[in-house]
Amino acid sequence: MFETLIFVLDSTARLSTPLLLAALAGLYSERSGIFDIGLEGKMLGAAFAAGTAAALSGSAWTGLGAGILVSVALALVHGFACITNRGNQIVSGVAINFLAMGLTALLGQAWFGQGGRTPSVTGDARFGDVTWPFAAELRDVPVIGGLYSELLSGHNILVYAAFLAVPFSWWVLYRTRFGLRLRAVGENPGAVDTAGISVTWLRYRAVICTGILCGFAGTYLSIGQSASFIANMTAGKGFIALAALIFAKWKPVPVMFACLLFGFLDAVAIRLQGQQVPGIGEVPVQAIQALPYILTVVLLAGFIGKAVPPRAGGTAYVKERS
């Protein structure tokens, strides 16, 4: 029983990581007043770039760099459309999702001819698992061994980065000048503008932060969790992350718990596949796989109380013309 629990929690951590990175990414953009439903597309673009660069260079770090670069580039497209040209943020986000979905599949097929996949990578071209000191020695100690050696140790560095990004984001948001201004510009850009701060530059910096974190999320998918990019491998994770962000009311620490919840459901779903559930029998795979999505709908539909988005979210800032 304990082993099963550790197993489920261990995969919860792995499955939550991309959600957490993407949700935190969205947090920066949305807190600045730029809604971003293009998280999915940025992740996908980053996953493809990381898979390609890692396969070509043999270095996972080069892969990460390429992933971040592509994701930031897509974020800047979103910024250019929504900040500079005051375009509709939802439309721009949708466009980026479609662009990434089509382009990654197309380029993948054109370059590697493996049905949209990138070549599988191994060794240094992947982010391997990091084994913590004494993990092997402690493995057989009851309880502690399971917790330390299985749950805490043995993840790749991006998993740790994702969970460290939570306190870091909290600190940025609530303890730095940048964070104060970021939160302010999402609530009342007029206040920021009249305080002599550039709304445009501030929002661009926010979407760049989003790009960087989405870069991490995408890279994790293709060369952390898997060994190659597969067409449309994000499979809606960007949207689940968005749901987690709303569920968590745009706050970093609750975002982590929301992502852990979604990750946990995913892990349970995997664990339950093919198992006999007492009283029900074998639960169809599809029903279990649908569980996280159903929960998303149920939670968003009314179990979270009122989620008040940043007040200036979704609208471009135009200086008032008196």
């Binding site: 609530y174 303890r175 201004r181 302010a184 206040a191 009249t194 008196s322």
Partner: protein
């Protein structure tokens, strides 16, 4: 007041496309004075101040601060020159604390910790020096507007502003809050700060300024020493013709009751009773005014009677027909059918669809009237003709019934709504804030129309937060506080007594 100039504008000019917002402005503001800028809406006051604060750039002309020519390309530059601005719509982040709002943009370092403690000390000092007490850890959204405004002033002072621009600062304040603001402004002046006060309320100009400049259609038409001018002269300068500041009306001739409200209670979405057991009566041929500080249930009362807002209990009788509002539910069309017309408080949100052309707005709510079409089809020739008649009768400008309503000025938009409601010949007219954001010239016109309606033997229920307006128009004044009618007074009652009632004092306390 010294002879040194804090601000001098020389030939400042600004156009927005076709609109010439500021024409060759010459303005001298003395150091250590309170200088008023007065003018109607759209006279260019706000544009001029925005130029001073670096929000817009002048097309030509020179700005001198403390005698030196400067350029102000951004708000940051204005702040650096010691210019601070209190905007008409507060530039505050509502879910931030006072302290966070004050330091925003002047944090003093990449990390907040140091700046916050310094700001806390500085706020304490400013609060003591200028009588500007605010709890630094309170959230803005929990503060009444008067205190929010204080935060705006503190923001400017925290950035060591020597020149403070206030744009229509009293629009949202109660009379007492406005008086407190004026006291603060005088203290600021005595400490050597220069204050530029932009307003369209002449009483304020007379009460607090040392000098006043009048703007009309983008130009400064006169600058006067306040002690050597009068409200009448300023009003004439603003409008360009003589205006009647007093409403001319004879004694009322009340007839039968046309509107009776019994035990009306309204509960809002938070579960709070915002209107509590209100009963009132309006007779034909009289204007009943409801005075009160904004947010004491007047708006909800008006909406409930108009059939727009659901009530917990209440019976309304319009011209002899009893309607149990709690049972009838919200049905504004039915109320309208009984002869009740409603000019809502917020014309943009409820009175007009500003993207529609004028003529469509002129029939809004009455579009099912067979005059305007047959069955589901509208007859636009008739609609346009009706609109043209109203435009002429109410002097709505520009006289173009196909123009998008958003392009009319506030006063003309209000006239469109008023024309629509009055021309249906109602037995009772509900009017909320009839002159909010309306020019002096149009105010005069609107007031005359309302009085004419009364004299034609109709009932009028008037809600306004402008006590002056209530006293000028109403034949009886009801004061609302905290959802209840706390007293009825004659319009001649002293302003101080009404003010106290509005602030929740008991009738006896107010009379003393």
């Amino acid at each position: 007041m010294s002879d040194q100039l804090a601000i001098e504008l020389v030939g400042v000019d600004k156009r927005f496309g076709q609109v010439h917002a500021n024409k060759d402005i010459h303005l001298k503001v003395r150091k250590g004075s309170i200088h008023g800028i007065v003018g109607e809406n759209g006279a260019g006051k706000s544009t001029l101040m925005s130029i001073l604060y670096g929000f817009y750039h002048a097309d030509s002309g020179e700005i001198r601060v403390d005698g030196k020519p400067v350029s102000i390309p951004s708000s940051q530059a204005a702040i650096a020159l010691g210019i601070g601005m209190v905007h008409q719509h507060f530039m505050l982040v509502e879910n931030f604390t006072v302290l966070e709002n004050v330091i925003l943009g002047a944090e003093g370092g990449a990390l907040l910790a140091g700046g916050v403690s310094r700001a806390r000390a500085e706020l304490k000092r400013l609060a003591a020096d200028y009588d500007l007490k605010v709890d630094p850890d309170a959230l803005i959204e929990d503060l009444p507007v008067g205190l929010q405004q204080r935060v705006e002033i503190l923001k400017a002072l925290f950035r060591s502003a020597d020149i403070l621009i206030l744009d229509e600062p009293t629009g949202v304040l109660t009379p007492a809050e406005a008086d407190h603001l004026f006291r603060i402004l005088r203290v600021l002046r005595d400490e050597g700060k220069t204050v530029l006060l932009i307003t369209h309320k002449l009483r304020e100009i007379m009460a607090v300024t040392d000098e006043v400049s009048v703007m009309r259609r983008g130009e400064i038409v006169a600058t006067r020493q306040t002690s050597k001018t009068s409200m009448g002269e300023l009003a004439e300068l603003m409008v360009g013709r003589r205006v009647l500041l007093e409403v001319e009306k004879g004694p009322p001739q009340p007839g039968r009751p046309v509107l009776t409200v019994e035990n009306l209670t309204v509960r809002d979405t938070r579960g709070v009773d915002v209107v509590r057991n209100v009963s009132l009566e309006v007779r034909a041929g009289e204007i009943v005014g409801i005075a009160g500080v904004s947010g004491n249930g007047q708006s909800e009362l008006l909406e409930a009677i108009a059939g727009i807002r659901a009530v917990t209990s209440g019976i309304v009788t319009v011209d002899g027909t009893r309607v149990d509002l709690a049972r009838a539910g919200t049905d504004p069309a039915a109320m309208r059918g009984l002869g009740l017309a409603h000019v809502p408080e917020d014309r943009h949100r409820m009175g007009l669809v500003t993207r529609f052309p004028e003529c469509e707005n002129a029939i809004l709510g009455y579009h099912r009237d067979p005059t305007y079409g047959r069955g589901p089809f509208l007859d636009f020739d008739r609609i346009r003709n009706a609109a043209k008649t109203e435009i002429e009768k109410y002097d709505i400008r520009p006289a173009d019934c196909m123009l998008k309503t958003a392009n009319f000025s506030g006063g003309n938009q209000q006239k469109i709504v008023l024309a629509r409601e009055i021309e249906r010949d109602p037995v009772i007219l509900l009017v909320g804030q009839p002159t909010r954001g309306v020019d002096i010239g149009a105010i005069e016109f609107i007031h005359k129309r309302i009085v004419a309606l009364r004299d034609a033997g109709k009932g009028v229920l008037l809600v306004s937060v402008e006590l002056d307006e209530i006293r000028a128009l109403a034949d009886r004044v009801l004061v609302m506080f905290d959802g209840q009618v706390v007293g009825e007074r004659a319009p001649e009652t002293a302003e101080s007594e009404l003010g106290l009632l509005m602030a929740g004092a008991s009738g006896q306390e107010a009379a003393e």
